[in-house]
């Protein structure tokens, strides 16, 4: 009952790969967007803020469909990607990465933005009087002092990606060995009369992986804060 089949191990590994890539893909854009929203005041700030948070309130299937229209093989950008570079994101695990990245983006931006807002701008001012350019100031003062937010954002994005279902199934499909991540596999198993035991195993595994990710994040955050004291 409790031993995993090779196919189930592959599902777990695929889910972890998709979640890890999702975090890596999001890291730079999320830091950039968080900085923009936290530190800059410009016309359209509120609109941009709302757009960033849209995935949190829209049904995931709607976002999956929008991605399909945009990045699908016949989509506005997707058709160009396919014609120019033979890149097809649908039915490919990278599609699952993009779907979960879109869903996780606001979570990561929020966490990093909160942390950035807690950094004392007077410290950045002091750095500039000590010869640091704005870029050096950002990487030597602002970012290190908001690492806990980046870490929290990364873990939230990782966990969100592990649990992502609606946008992934709509955009990337439910292809065994390619885009069938844990939630999709559980869904597929619940549709099969013989799949109850396997579904339960994967559910337990999902819970285990998520709890482990959260504990790891707490441990890392604790270590980081202690090293900064």
């Amino acid at each position: 009952m409790w031993s995993l089949s090779p196919a189930e191990i592959d599902i777990v590994l695929l889910s972890l790969k998709v979640a890890a890539c999702c975090v890596l893909v999001l890291l730079l854009p999320a830091i950039g967007m968080a900085w923009l929203l936290a530190r800059k005041h410009f016309w359209g700030h509120a609109l941009l803020d709302a757009l960033v948070h849209l995935p949190m309130v829209l049904p995931p299937v709607v976002l999956g469909y929008m991605l399909l229209v945009l990045l699908g093989r016949r989509g506005w950008i997707g058709s160009w990607l396919y014609e120019q570079f033979h890149i097809q994101l649908t039915f490919h695990w990278w599609g699952a990465v993009i779907a979960s990245a879109v869903m996780a983006f606001p979570l990561m931006v929020r966490a990093i933005r909160q942390a950035l807002m807690q950094v004392n701008p007077l410290l950045e001012q002091a750095a500039q009087t000590l010869g640091a350019t704005p870029i050096k100031t950002f990487f030597s003062i602002t970012l290190p002092l908001s690492y806990h937010g980046v870490l929290t954002g990364g873990i939230l994005a990782f966990s969100r990606s592990l649990g992502e279902f609606g946008a992934t199934i709509t955009f990337a499909g439910n292809l065994e060995g390619e885009t069938r991540t844990l939630p999709l596999a559980i869904y597929s198993l619940t549709q099969s009369p013989e799949g109850d035991a396997a579904a339960l195993r994967l559910v337990m595994l999902s819970v285990l992986v998520s709890v482990f990710a959260l504990l790891a994040s707490q441990w890392l955050e604790h270590r980081l804060l202690r090293s900064q004291r």
Binding site: L123, T129, L130, T133, Q228
Partner: protein
């Protein structure tokens, strides 16, 4: 010679304008004290010299280098001005050790003011491995002074460096400030709202009131 001849005008409160005029020159090793009440514009003046604020008009010059010239539209950003600014609250970087803080603004290459000398003059050798959170108020200010010195500044600006300290700590830190001015021979601008403190450190004292600098009586 470090020269400042600027005017700072800023909207202030509902319909009033903050207006400050400052004109002075500092020779190497000279310490000019500026005394003024809270809100008189002391910090605004120092921040304008450091490039954190833009004056409305005038010129700031360090030797042959023009830092600010309104007519010629020259406005060097803070990181291009060789200024050592010591803030009221020290503003040490909390995630760095004392040594990392000290080294932060050090330019690469030959330096006139070197780390061992600064550490020696300010007696902070035993603090180098500590984090700012492990320092007392007086120790923090000594490190902040050291950090500003290691920037190899053309001018040292001290913005009420003792204001956050109690009298006992003030008496501990004050000799270090005098020692720094005497040892490194930098043109120094020392501002504070405490007259006695300014008089003890500075060669000459000006008062700042109603936006005008005047010779102290």
């Amino acid at each position: 010679m470090f020269t400042v001849d600027i005017r700072i005008q800023q909207p202030y409160a509902a319909s009033t304008t903050f207006d400050l005029q400052a004109s002075f020159a500092l020779a190497p090793g000279q310490c000019l004290g500026i005394m003024g009440a809270s809100g008189s514009g002391k910090t605004t003046l120092l921040h304008s010299i450091a490039g954190l604020l833009m004056p409305s008009s005038g010129v700031i010059r360090s030797g042959d280098h023009v830092w600010f010239d309104h007519k010629q539209a020259i406005q060097l950003p803070p990181w291009q001005r060789r200024v050592g600014l010591v803030f009221q609250d020290g503003r040490l970087f909390p995630h760095m050790s004392v040594e990392q803080n000290l080294r932060y603004g050090m330019p690469t290459g030959m330096a006139r003011i070197v780390l061992p000398e600064v550490v020696d003059v300010l007696a902070i050798q035993s603090l180098l491995k500590r984090k700012p959170s492990q320092l007392s108020g007086g120790e923090k200010q000594r490190v902040a002074i050291g950090r500003a010195l290691l920037r190899q500044p053309s001018v040292l600006l001290m913005d009420e460096p003792l204001s956050g300290l109690d009298d006992r700590l003030k008496q501990q830190v004050l000799p270090y400030i005098k020692q720094v001015i005497a040892t490194f021979g930098l043109p120094t601008l020392y501002v504070s709202h405490v007259g006695d403190e300014v008089a003890e450190v500075a060669d000459e004292v000006l008062t700042l009131a109603q936006g005008v600098l005047r010779q102290a009586k």
